[in-house]
């Protein structure tokens, strides 16, 4: 059941930081490495900036003509033999899936990564109806076994150490808890997943892109797990958000070049698979799902967030995300993109997310489809302030909280600090590692000139109020 309580992202991030001296530095380091690889990959493409511009414009064109592209996609996919369903929201999406499975007496499905299915809470819905749902992406499977949502849209278990995974697998699939070798652990899961692929009555996927011109959709994975799910069980069900449309096949030349370079700094994913109607001897069901997207399309300040291709680059670069862990956001989407998407699902629940940012603008700089992410974060703050979602003291505190998360060592010592001599000056600079690679002499935004102690006392007072 959905919990409507306001997400206290700062407190949850603090807990991630405070747990030990291992998780947060590892998380930070691994994501920063992905960011640096992304920079190197982008530099190798002379037309990189032009590609970003083109991708942005193609997406804006598609979204401002979405009606025609959706009907074109539907027509072409149907004529290829796919069955197309429409879902206004998560409930309708899940019902379609359930209806398809029930009609065919399917009791177990194997799924690859789909943020939309995550959004819809599909797995829990199906499990409540007796369906066995197995995640096939390794990271997603790790999260499923640990009963946690993915913490990153591309690297779902990036907040876990290999020791965490070794413990988890030892409990669940009988591996040696002392063996933390990723090769050993991956092999163990490969063998465990293999039988589930063979038992499954349906394979479920999402889609990275849907092509109006041919009624095709594209799924990108590194493991090949989506392809096994689509090629082995007789039924393939694909959940596709209505914003995934692209007009033409040739557009993929631009988007495939951008996607994995932005995500992990690799030239492409190992598998870029194109589904145009059912495979020989199989069935293909496509669920075109709105779930808040049309509403977002009508928000003048926020509709361009629909351009997002879910690469995760904004998360990898975000100094606040890297130190918070994705689970702190308490939402399907975390990091900068989460901050601007989540409130469109529930303004009150996610009203504090827009304050969980330093507004440094790095996300906007790396976004392959040029979404003005940091501007939208600021805009969301204005929405939240206008709607008085936050008490004044808390609003002030968070401007500073963002700064503290860039300096975890300060935060960690907070418990023992006798008095707050630390002054956070308005233009308090981010440390070099973060600032330099952006190579822009941009004026950093101003923050409330509040001392750490003031912030800390407010933070403590708030927590005491809630009896924790």
């Amino acid at each position: 059941m959905e919990d409507d309580k306001k997400v206290d992202v700062a407190a949850q991030a603090a807990a991630f930081l405070a747990q030990d001296e291992v998780h947060e530095p590892m998380h930070d380091k691994n994501l920063w490495a992905a960011r640096m690889k992304r920079d190197a990959a982008a530099r190798e493409v002379p037309e990189w900036e032009t590609l970003r511009q083109l991708a942005s414009q193609i997406k804006e064109h598609t979204l401002t003509h979405l009606l025609q592209y959706l009907t074109e996609f539907e027509k072409n996919a149907t004529s290829r033999g796919a069955k197309v369903y429409w879902a206004r929201d998560a409930a309708e999406h899940n019902q379609h899936v359930w209806d398809i499975l029930r009609e065919k007496n399917i009791s177990s499905v194997i799924k690859s990564k789909s943020m939309l299915q995550e959004e819809c809470g599909m797995t829990a819905f199906l499990e409540n109806r007796g369906i066995t749902v197995t995640e096939s992406d390794l990271g997603e499977r790790i999260q499923q076994l640990d009963d946690q949502p993915p913490s990153h849209i591309v690297m779902p278990a990036i907040h876990k150490t290999r020791e965490d995974v070794a413990q988890l697998f030892a409990r669940n699939i009988g591996t040696d808890p002392a063996n933390t070798d990723p090769h050993y652990l991956t092999e163990a899961m490969r063998n465990d997943a293999r039988k589930r692929f063979l038992e499954a009555g349906a394979g479920m996927t999402g889609a990275n892109f849907a092509i109006a011109e041919t009624g095709s959709f594209v799924v990108c994975t590194n493991e090949g797990n989506a392809d096994i799910g689509a090629s082995v069980p007789p039924v393939h069900i694909a959940s596709i958000g209505i914003e995934k449309l692209l007009p033409k096949v040739k557009d993929l030349g631009i988007f495939i070049r951008l996607l994995s370079r932005s995500a992990l700094g690799t030239l492409a994913t190992q598998y870029t698979s194109h589904f145009s109607g059912p495979r020989k001897g199989g069935e293909l069901h496509i669920i075109l799902t709105d779930n808040g997207r049309s509403k977002r399309l009508g928000m003048p300040e926020f509709w361009t967030s629909l351009k997002c291709i879910r690469c995760g680059a904004c998360m990898n670069t975000c100094p606040v995300y890297r130190r918070s862990g994705g689970l702190a956001y308490g939402a399907t989407y975390s990091g900068p993109i989460g901050i601007i998407l989540d409130p469109t699902f529930d303004e009150s629940k996610y009203s504090e997310l827009p304050y969980h940012s330093s507004l440094c603008g790095s996300c906007t700089e790396v976004c392959p489809v040029k979404i003005n992410i940091s501007d939208q974060i600021l805009q969301w703050r204005k929405v939240m302030a206008a709607k008085k979602y936050l008490p004044a003291a808390r609003r002030l505190a968070f401007g500073t909280a963002g700064k503290i998360f860039e300096h975890p060592q300060l935060f960690r010592s907070a418990e023992t600090m006798a008095s707050g001599a630390l002054k956070f000056t308005p233009n308090f600079l981010l440390y070099n590692r973060v600032l330099n690679p952006w190579g822009r002499h941009r004026e950093l935004p101003h923050f409330a000139g509040q001392t750490f102690r003031e912030w800390y006392l407010q933070y403590k007072a708030k927590n005491n109020e809630h009896g924790t």
């Binding site: 037309e47 979204l63 992406d137 990036i158 995974v165 990723p182 598998y271 194109h274 145009s276």
Partner: protein
């Protein structure tokens, strides 16, 4: 209910679409960067975790296959140039491929930019061959290399095939401790046999 959902989603989209329409952009013809397509392709296949071999003819390819996979187990070939142990055309159900050690498939073309090969349903005969096989051998004509993804998408013809995959090396993951491991779910290894 179904028709109702369709019209409601489409009506909502129509109502909410921004009134200021953005034009589809002019896509420039980007300069091709790789001078020697084959050499670039080979390098990229290796970067992606694959290997490349040059073969003079089908007999040489068959001999190499036998030597490389002497004890591997069942070999299933989807191309008439190579003979395996199992007839792919007799396969009725993808599950019959669960015990295949080596799948052999001829790719339509390769991409110099990233080392991808393009495989369609027609090339795989049974799609699962590309994903249940423990190891893959991909035959590719050394002449069939395009420069980049722009050229690649001019050659895919999605209207002619229900399934097509750009495969770039073997299966990979870095989901545990950000350490790269090959053979997560799909093929553990991928070898390209360059064969005219």
């Amino acid at each position: 209910m179904e028709h109702n959902s369709r019209s409601q989603v489409l009506a909502a989209v129509e109502r909410q679409m921004p009134t200021h329409k953005i034009a589809y952009p002019e896509i420039p013809d980007f300069p091709r960067t790789a001078a020697d397509l084959l050499a670039a392709f080979e390098d990229r296949v290796k970067d992606a975790g694959g290997e490349v071999f040059h073969l003079a003819d089908a007999a040489a390819a068959q001999a190499l296959l036998v030597s490389q996979y002497a004890d591997a187990g069942i070999i299933c070939s989807a191309t008439p140039e190579i003979t395996g142990d199992r007839d792919i055309h007799a396969v009725k159900n993808p599950h019959e491929l669960a015990d295949v050690a080596v799948g052999v498939i001829r790719a339509r073309f390769g991409v110099a930019e990233n080392g991808m090969v393009w495989l369609t349903e027609e090339d795989l005969v049974v799609n699962a061959l590309g994903f249940l096989s423990q190891h893959l051998v991909i035959l590719l004509s050394p002449q069939a290399i395009v420069g980049d993804m722009y050229d690649a998408y001019l050659r895919v013809h999605l209207e002619d095939t229900a399934y097509g995959c750009f495969m770039m090396g073997p299966s990979a993951t870095a989901d545990i401790g950000a350490v790269l491991v090959h053979g997560a779910q799909g093929a553990r290894s991928l070898r390209v046999y360059l064969l005219p």
